[in-house]
């Protein structure tokens, strides 16, 4: 277990270092002068100079890189060109909004997707399976922002059940929760569709294993086979699925935040992109990627709990 833990943590360090590097070079992908890009064509030469100096653009690339890594590791992700605030601070202000949306969405996705996927696998080939898989196919095929618009149209404008805005200016848990329902459902259902499809195939794969046939040959009842024996095996690929879909749902969350005019990392990044506030974009991308990495590490540790082979390396 110690070996497993240290290996996971080493991987974490390498990956964090890697995403910092990618974030750095993402900024280099801007053709021409990043300072000009940020300040626009009407910037004065003096302000361009000042920005270049502040960003370290006058240094050789490798020095810029080292500087960027050094700063990033100490938590300095630069400043927003627009507001002058530290980028990290802006992002941390948006974080609770995104976190609550991501957690609520993931909850919806797992609570709906996993049981439906398992049910579909157990009832393989029956109308139950066909129906669930058809709905899941629809779920992964409609663009999430369109589903969001449709939800607003139906549940806010026509039925008046939930607010069209994904956030309220009023504080208070219940007020905010009420505003969170639609965005979380929209985000969660699209992910649930993926999770259901992938859970089904994970479960089917486990059900096809030799040890399941052995259990059947020994007369173990089907219920025990599905819900005790197979489920624990399928949990590993299902967790992997949840990990993969989490990264993917953060991408979708940007669209959901925009549709519901909800503050958050995604909409902050988008605003920064439109304002050409590239340091802010960089900071946002970095924090989102770090979130994905943290989730994956958590899942890796969970595999160790479930699977004795992983635990013992």
């Amino acid at each position: 277990m110690t070996y497993y833990l240290s290996r996971t943590l080493l991987q974490l360090a390498v990956t964090i270092f890697g995403i910092v590097t990618v974030a750095f070079f993402l900024m280099r992908a801007i053709p021409g002068d990043p300072a000009l890009y940020m300040l626009g064509d009407f910037a004065t030469e003096a302000s361009l100079q000042a920005l270049r100096a502040r960003l370290g653009l006058d240094l050789p690339v490798w020095e810029q890189y080292l500087l960027f890594v050094e700063r990033a590791l100490t938590g300095d992700l630069g400043r927003s060109v627009v507001t002058g605030q530290p980028a990290l601070k802006e992002m941390l202000a948006a974080l609770p909004w995104s976190l609550s949306l991501a957690v609520a969405g993931l909850l919806v996705a797992v609570v709906i997707g996993v049981p439906l996927g398992i049910l579909s696998a157990i009832k393989r080939g029956t109308w139950v399976d066909v129906t669930i898989m058809f709905i899941a196919l629809l779920g992964i095929s409609f663009p999430v922002f369109w589903v969001g618009l449709a939800a607003i149209l139906i549940f806010s404008h026509q039925m008046g059940l939930f607010p069209a805005l994904g956030a309220s200016t009023q504080p208070g848990f219940w007020v905010q929760a009420h505003h969170l329902v639609l965005p979380a459902l929209v985000l969660g259902l699209s992910v649930a569709a993926y999770i259901a499809r992938l859970t089904r195939s994970a479960m089917l794969e486990v059900l096809g294993q030799d040890y399941i046939r052995v259990a059947r040959a020994m007369g173990v009842p089907e219920k025990r086979i599905f819900f005790r024996l197979a489920l624990r095996n399928a949990l590993i690929p299902i967790l992997a699925v949840v990990g993969v879909t989490f990264a993917w749902s953060l991408g979708n969350a940007i669209l959901v935040e925009v549709v519901f005019s909800r503050p958050g990392l995604g909409s902050t990044v988008l605003k920064a992109i439109l304002a050409r506030d590239y340091q802010l974009v960089q900071a946002g991308v970095l924090i989102l990627a770090a979130g994905v990495v943290l989730i994956n590490v958590t899942l890796d540790l969970l595999y160790g709990v479930i699977d004795p082979r992983v635990r013992q390396g």
Binding site: G125, Q209, D210, Y211, R213, V214, A215, R216, A217, M218, G219, V220, P221, E222, R224, R228, L229, R232, N233, I306, D307, P308, R309, Q312
Partner: protein, 365 residues
């Protein structure tokens, strides 16, 4: 393990070394005893694109208490499917379309799913080929044995665990009280097969079907596992079916043998009769495809030419005709499918138009 080096040559019987271990043809001590498991005319089909495909065709086999029946044939000959049909574990969409599977007189094919489940494990049990994949990797072996026990009898956790330790001891796993909490990956292949055998005999079934139980194991372990199976059979008076393609195993461990080809039994009988007085060309070819360890030259090894026929497109005549040294291109072999018929004494039967010719020693390659 000198025993390994005694895979029988085909014929004549003169130097068949299995007689070192078990001398001479003997009178059948179990004549007249009712079979524990009796398959009668079992026929299994899968739906195919051009109509149903018959995978098991009118197979009749029986095995009596304390006896080992070997079922041999190439892979795809339907030997495993026959017994999966018997215990109701055919992969879908396969179906048994006719026949009876009598377990001490009860026809398993007429039972409900739940009634059949109760018989599996307790009345009829099975050990599969690959011990590496047969155990669930995320449960301890004690858990897995307990799962089988508790599937059939209400039993407390501690009671099930105590029984699991006993069973591990019974299959000669050293230090069972400690091993019971091991996960499968902590055990060697041979140990895992012992665990699977422990699961299979946990409820003292009357029939144990062992489907190539030693193929995935190395030679010394193979012998130990087979000795264990024989020991358990003799102690409990269990009937045993040994599915294999290893004729060496058949010679050393079986009392009777059935040879299957393309879903049908083509020859069956007491082991001595089938080995010494082979009456089907396919059986002859099987013997010849086995290496003789008394000669180093590979020249003696004669693999069976060609492929087994596609079960979806079986010929009208004998299914072995295209590969047969004796009947290839012959009129009757092409046009008529041979039925099982008596070939000698003691219930020795073969399904070949030219069995008599073969037994006289004619037409051999």
């Amino acid at each position: 393990m000198t025993a390994r080096n005694v895979i029988p040559g085909p014929f004549p019987a003169a130097a068949r070394p299995r007689e070192e271990a078990r001398p001479g043809p003997r009178p059948d001590p179990r004549a007249g005893v009712e079979p524990t498991l009796d398959l009668r005319g079992v026929t299994t089909r899968f739906p195919g694109e051009d109509g149903p495909i018959t995978i098991v065709d009118d197979v009749s086999l029986s095995v009596r208490p304390g006896e080992t029946l070997a079922v041999v044939g190439e892979s795809g000959s339907g030997k495993t499917m026959t017994f999966l049909s018997a215990i109701g574990l055919l992969p879908p969409p396969g179906k048994v379309v006719s026949g009876q599977v009598l377990l001490d007189g009860t026809d398993l094919l007429t039972l409900s799913t739940e009634e059949l489940r109760r018989h599996r494990g307790s009345g009829i049990s099975m050990v599969f080929q690959d011990p590496l994949t047969g155990l669930n990797p995320v449960f301890t072996i004690g858990d897995q044995i307990a799962e089988v026990l508790r599937a059939h009898k209400p039993m407390s956790r501690s009671e099930a665990r105590r029984r699991a330790v006993e069973l591990l001891d019974r299959v000669h796993i050293p230090d069972p009280t400690r091993r019971v909490d091991d996960f499968p990956h902590q055990l060697s292949g041979g140990m895992r097969q012992r665990v699977l055998i422990a699961m299979a005999i946990a409820l003292e079934p009357r029939v144990l079907i062992a489907d190539e139980p030693t193929t995935a194991l190395d030679v010394t372990v193979q012998a130990q596992v087979l000795e264990l199976l024989a020991e358990l059979r003799d102690e409990a008076g269990m009937a045993m079916v040994l599915i294999t393609h290893d004729l060496g195993l058949v010679a050393r461990h079986a009392d009777r043998v059935a040879v299957m080809y393309a879903g049908r039994v083509v020859e069956r009988g007491p082991i001595e009769a089938v080995f010494d007085d082979t009456a089907h060309p396919y059986t002859v070819s099987l013997f010849e495809s086995v290496p003789h360890l008394d000669s180093d030259s590979a020249a003696d090894l004669r693999p069976i030419e060609g492929q087994p026929p596609n079960p979806a497109f079986l010929p009208a005549g004998c299914a072995f005709e295209a590969r047969c040294f004796l009947g290839r291109g012959r009129e009757d072999c092409l046009s008529r499918r041979p039925a099982l018929g008596a070939a000698g004494s003691g219930g020795h039967e073969a399904a070949c138009h030219h069995a008599a010719e073969l037994r006289k020693g004619e037409g051999r390659p």
